[in-house]
Amino acid sequence: MRAMIIDDSRAMRSILRRIVSGLDFETSEAEHGQDALDQMNAGVVPDICLVDWNMPVMDGYTFITRVRDNPDWRDVTLMMVTTESEQRNIVRALAAGAHEYVIKPFTPDAIVDKLALLGLLQPDAVLGGGVPA
């Protein structure tokens, strides 16, 4: 499985990378939505994107709408990982095509649970080393 982590914070990308790498995902990273789209157009199409909302250049909501507008990417799973917790925006994101929504701060277990719900984990998957406490 391949995961793309889309967040303007290197620190948050590092935290998420350690979590999903510990679950044996291959990872790539993007600094904002446009960066992610550019990588996907260049052929780096992940199985799942973990997407922040509040980013420069292109925010996570716009990224989701752009991905869903492209039928070639209909199999890409989209999970918002963001501090944006207003109900109306959660509904907007899910209506636009996000599959799951995680609000920061989160625990590694919260990410694992969501990936399991999405069917992206093997039944015996456990977190590996290096995951932040």
Binding site: D8, S9, R10, A11, M12, S14, I15, R18, N54, M55, P56, T82, T83, E84, S85, E86, R88, N89, K104, P105, F106, T107, G130, P132, A133
Partner: protein, 165 residues
């Protein structure tokens, strides 16, 4: 130095989150990033006392819309660097760069600000964070509405909420 000047509408009353709420949000963010074993200890600091660390980092994020306010975190360099090292998984013995610290401190205020926003009337938008090596400075049209002083491993951390007059 972080200088804040904004607020161009009369929307949003000068309501503010409670000290307990801000402290709870800060602890949630802190412990989620650094581990449940970490302890944040409240500090008794008289009103009007400047943040008292020698080396200071500050980060601000503004909330605009149904509620308006500015969320600020100030923390000692001796706090910012180990927190950054943990967040970025920097190996022991390797120093975090200033760019690393700015990134990590910005994410701290982003997470605290986002959760403060969720407590207040909406809809509102959270700005991208602004980070500085140095204390935050506020425009005269802002007033401090809530302040939480805590210490982590004996070093000071301050979270403030400012609102328009």
């Amino acid at each position: 130095m972080n200088v804040l000047t904004f607020f161009d509408t009369d929307a949003g009353a000068a309501e503010a989150p409670s000290v307990d709420d801000v402290q709870a949000v800060t602890e949630d963010v802190w412990l989620s990033l650094l581990g449940e074993q970490e302890v944040l200890v409240p500090r008794l600091v008289p009103p009007g006392t400047p943040f008292d660390a020698l080396g200071v980092w500050s980060a601000v994020a503004s909330i605009s819309g149904g509620w308006q306010g500015v969320v600020t975190i100030e923390l000692a360099d001796s706090v910012a660097r180990p927190v950054t090292a943990h967040m970025l998984d920097i190996p022991a013995g390797t120093d975090a760069t200033d760019s690393d610290v700015a990134d990590a401190v910005g994410e701290l205020v982003n997470m605290i600000g986002g959760n403060i926003k969720s407590l207040m009337p909406g809809p509102s938008a959270l700005s991208l964070p602004s980070v500085a090596a140095g204390r935050a400075v506020f425009a005269s049209d802002l007033v401090e509405a809530c302040r939480v002083d805590i210490s982590w491993r004996g070093e000071p951390v301050r979270v403030c909420i400012h609102v328009p007059h």
